[in-house]
């Protein structure tokens, strides 16, 4: 098989995606491992290898003496064609073993539009797609985790076990339980029952759903004893002591983010009402600067990367960010190592940080005001004013940047055409500011990038409908006309993929047939515009009797049972209702870092508190410092 694989590698575009053999790759002795797990990333190598979660779990499991974790990525269509033509199964990178030989396959659900790749990978591995067809058949246990497992229902028929919340907290429990179950020769059902007893583990087959006549959900109940009605997410309580991989695998071919990643904190407390990550990664937990500096040194030494990126949902919120950056530059700058910041808050402080790390200002800076008017920014609780933005871009232009990107969302709840015009006005004001401050006017560029609002589970906007595709298209065209001007560039997202994202993110179990049908129709890499084809999906919805608009465009009532109500993100539904009501009044809710607890309920439910470096739980929020 090895030889056959070599042969097909010569026939694909980027064989380095499948060849393995990277620096820091761990290849363990197959036969002496008690439990063998494959980490399956349902996107291409270059995307998967840029994902910090993969590196964390890879290091953590391979640190165990009794377990191995190997990687597998979604094969690009040219590789899929070769695999199907030759009949070769999908194999892992490390030991080039078929996926079927593993005990556990763990998929990560990073985005809804990767769901069909999961089915494709199972199929290429010769594993039945549905959990029901696998029981007793001596197949690997199929596990899934990641953000989309917070509404696991659309994938419930295909996945045996979902891990809700942070994997480094749950995965060891899962592996230990799996081992214990095997040692006592338990059957499939007993294994699942045992797993369901753990916090953060959701076994969909153990739950029953009843529906109302109007297609809403009547009830979702756990049938058996020891199976919780509400599955609480897993949270790392001490981020500073949590496992961090300082021997990351260094990809052999260029990836999307080809650099060392240093996670400075987890969580974000700003409370934007559309943002799912802000809820599911709560509370904020900062790492100590000393820990970060130690990890950075080890990481750079073991990988040789020439760039280190300070990652988190909002790195400029990290309370020690300035001193951390200067110390990193002091220690590693002389060896030619750059520090980078992936996400910036809209304020002058962030520009100062960017100035610090970017000696050469050629690239553009991106800010995300999200909405065009103050009214709508208050609705979404963005906590950013026009003054904040003008200060930030002013600082950026003065510091030598010539290109600014502004990121907005359209289709937000309560949005009117005035809000759309507000986007154009804001962009023009930014451009005017640039004309005042940038010397080489020809290079001045303001890019307006617009995505479409997708209602997500566990957010204040989970009850809200998505705008219709026609309405989103109309708004895009309106904006395009308003933004016709020298120096302004307009970019927008395909409304069709946003629609599908909404269907899948608010979906329930009845979607399984449609997802499978779409895959059979040839849907693959739906997140890639060159492959996405809504037609394949519409056909699939039609053939399985699904009304996709019912999922994307429905306005849920507060007392409706939502498909994800049995998944506990720690934030109470009462709080989300309150936040939703406040949003409609345009009332903003302050960040809990400032000491005002908005009462989301998470700290009490999960017994975990926000943690800021130095042991504090409250600090002044940095954007009040000038």
């Amino acid at each position: 098989m090895e030889k056959q694989l070599e042969k097909i590698l010569r026939r694909v575009q980027k064989p380095g995606r499948y060849s393995g053999g990277e620096w820091n790759m761990v290849r363990k002795d197959w036969h002496s491992m008690c439990v063998k797990m494959a980490f399956a990333f349902p996107d291409v190598y270059e995307v998967g290898m840029s994902h910090l979660g993969l590196q964390i779990l890879y290091g953590m499991v391979n640190d165990r003496e009794d377990a191995l974790l190997e990687r597998v990525f979604a094969p690009w269509p040219d590789m899929e064609e070769q695999l199907r033509k030759t009949g070769l199964p999908l194999t892992s990178l490390e030991s080039r073993r078929p996926l079927r030989d593993f005990d556990i396959i763990g998929f990560t659900l990073q985005y809804e539009l990767s769901f069909t790749n999961i089915l494709n990978m199972l199929d290429l591995a010769g594993i039945p797609l549905r959990s029901a067809d696998r029981k007793g058949g001596n197949y690997p246990l199929v596990v899934a985790g990641g953000p989309c497992s917070f509404n696991p229902e659309p994938m419930a028929d295909f996945i045996d076990v979902f891990v809700i919340g942070e994997g480094e907290d749950a995965l060891n429990d899962l592996l230990d339980a799996y081992l214990a179950s095997r040692r006592s020769s338990e059957g499939w059902e007993d294994l699942l029952l045992r797993l369901a007893g753990f916090d953060g583990i959701y076994v969909p087959v153990l739950y029953r759903v009843e529906y109302n006549d109007d297609r809403t959900i009547k009830a979702l109940t756990s049938g058996s004893e020891g199976v919780p009605a509400l599955v609480h997410k897993r949270v790392v309580t001490d981020m500073d002591a949590a496992f961090f991989p300082t021997r990351m695998v260094v990809p052999a071919i260029e990836t999307v983010h080809d650099r060392a990643m240093l996670e400075v904190q987890r969580g974000c407390t700003r409370g934007c009402r559309f943002c799912q990550a802000g809820v599911i990664y709560r509370p904020v937990r900062e790492k100590e600067p000393e820990t970060l500096l130690r990890h950075a040194g080890e990481l750079l030494g073991s990988t040789g990367w020439g760039e280190i990126s300070l990652t988190s949902l909002s790195t400029s919120d990290y309370s020690r960010v300035s001193s951390l950056i200067s110390e990193l530059i002091k220690r590693h700058g002389p060896a030619g190592v750059n520090v980078s910041l992936p996400s910036l808050r809209v304020d002058a402080f962030s520009v100062d940080l960017a100035k610090e790390v970017q000696k050469v200002r050629r690239s553009s800076l991106t800010f995300a005001p999200e909405a065009g008017t103050q009214r709508l920014r208050d609705v979404i609780n963005k906590g950013v004013t026009e003054d904040n933005l003008m200060d930030a871009v002013g600082a950026a232009f003065s510091a030598g940047w010539q290109s600014i990107k502004l990121y907005f969302m359209i289709g937000l709840p309560t949005e009117t055409d005035d809000d759309i015009r507000g986007i154009a006005n804001l962009a023009r004001r930014v451009l005017d500011k640039g004309r005042m401050l940038v010397r080489v006017k020809g290079r001045l560029k303001v890019t307006v990038s617009v995505s479409s609002f997708v209602p997500k589970s566990h957010t204040a906007f989970q009850w809200e409908p998505q705008n219709s595709m026609a309405e989103l298209k109309r708004k895009q065209l309106l904006l395009r006309d308003l933004l016709r001007s020298r120096g302004l560039v307009f970019k927008w997202h395909d409304t069709r993929s946003s629609f599908l994202e909404a269907v899948l993110s608010r979906g329930d179990r009845r979607l399984a047939g449609a997802i499978e049908a779409a895959w059979r129709n040839g849907a693959r890499f739906d997140g890639w515009s060159e492959f996405f084809d809504l037609g394949k999906w519409l056909k699939a919805f039609e053939s399985t009797g699904i009304d996709p608009e019912g999922y994307a465009y429905r306005r849920y009532q507060y007392d409706d049972v939502l498909p994800w109500d049995h998944i506990g993100a720690g934030v109470s539904k009462k709080y989300l209702v309150r936040e939703h009501r406040r949003s409609l009044e345009g009332a903003i809710t302050p960040d809990c870092r400032g000491g005002q607890c908005p009462g989301c309920g998470l700290c009490a439910t999960l017994e975990v508190k926000p943690y800021l470096a130095g042991g504090e739980t409250v600090v002044p929020i940095p954007d009040t410092i000038q």
Binding site: G16, W23, V250, I253, E254, G336, V360
Partner: protein
């Protein structure tokens, strides 16, 4: 600056690293090894590497050539050992030598490359006719077409670029040894030459079936 000529091999999974990715991989290996490589000046400093001839993706190299500049002198043995401890699997330093400051770049002095090409038994279209190699090489012209950058097909005569073509073995398939001109004046690819050879015998092969090893540069 201190210039060193490094002879290395690139085999196994490393043969799928493209030339651009190889530059990145080497830079990281030098960093891990803690070797004081010199960087170019300018906005985007890059390590001062100089290669003899890029190796195509999927082709193994037994004796490739790289020249590096260092900020400080490094003992040959130390350089080889430290780098070998930091290179990803498949990349191995074989030899280190000094390069005088005024020496031309390896690219400039290079004129040829040796290859071993193997075709599995299953992929062979048929037995080779007797004297096939001699007849093939006795042609005055060997014309091949290659797509240019403008996507137009160009006809070229590669006969002057084929310095040697030998059948090494016909056990378990066919193994051919080739010496081909390489470099700026004339560049012949091994798969081109082997494909032309089979076409001359009236048979056709799939170029993707060829296992190609570059045995050396001269």
């Amino acid at each position: 600056m201190f210039r060193y000529r490094i002879q290395y091999s690139k085999r196994g999974s490393a043969c799928y690293i493209s030339h651009l990715d190889l530059i990145r991989a080497l830079e990281r290996a030098f960093r891990r090894a803690g070797l004081p490589i010199a960087f170019s000046e300018g906005f985007n400093p890059h390590p001062r590497f100089s290669f003899a001839a890029p190796l195509p993706v999927g082709v193994e190299g037994l004796a490739e050539v790289l020249e590096v500049e260092m900020k400080e002198p490094v003992d040959h043995q130390v350089l080889a050992e430290r780098l070998n401890g930091a290179l990803p699997p498949g990349l191995v330093v074989l030899e280190v030598a000094d390069v005088p400051d005024n020496a031309p770049s390896p690219m400039a002095v290079l004129t040829g490359a040796g290859y071993i090409v193997h075709l599995d038994e299953d992929d062979l279209p048929g037995p080779l006719p007797a004297e096939a190699v001699r007849h093939f090489l006795s042609q005055e012209k060997i014309q091949v077409t290659r797509k240019g950058k403008d996507d137009k097909e160009k006809v070229r005569d590669i006969r002057p670029g084929i310095l040697k073509l030998n059948v090494l073995s016909q056990v378990n398939g066919l193994t051919i040894q080739l010496d081909l001109k390489t470099g700026s004046t004339m560049n012949v690819r091994p798969e081109e030459a082997v494909d032309a050879f089979f076409r001359y015998t009236g048979m056709s092969i799939d170029k993707a079936d060829l296992q190609i090893i570059r045995s050396g540069l001269f």
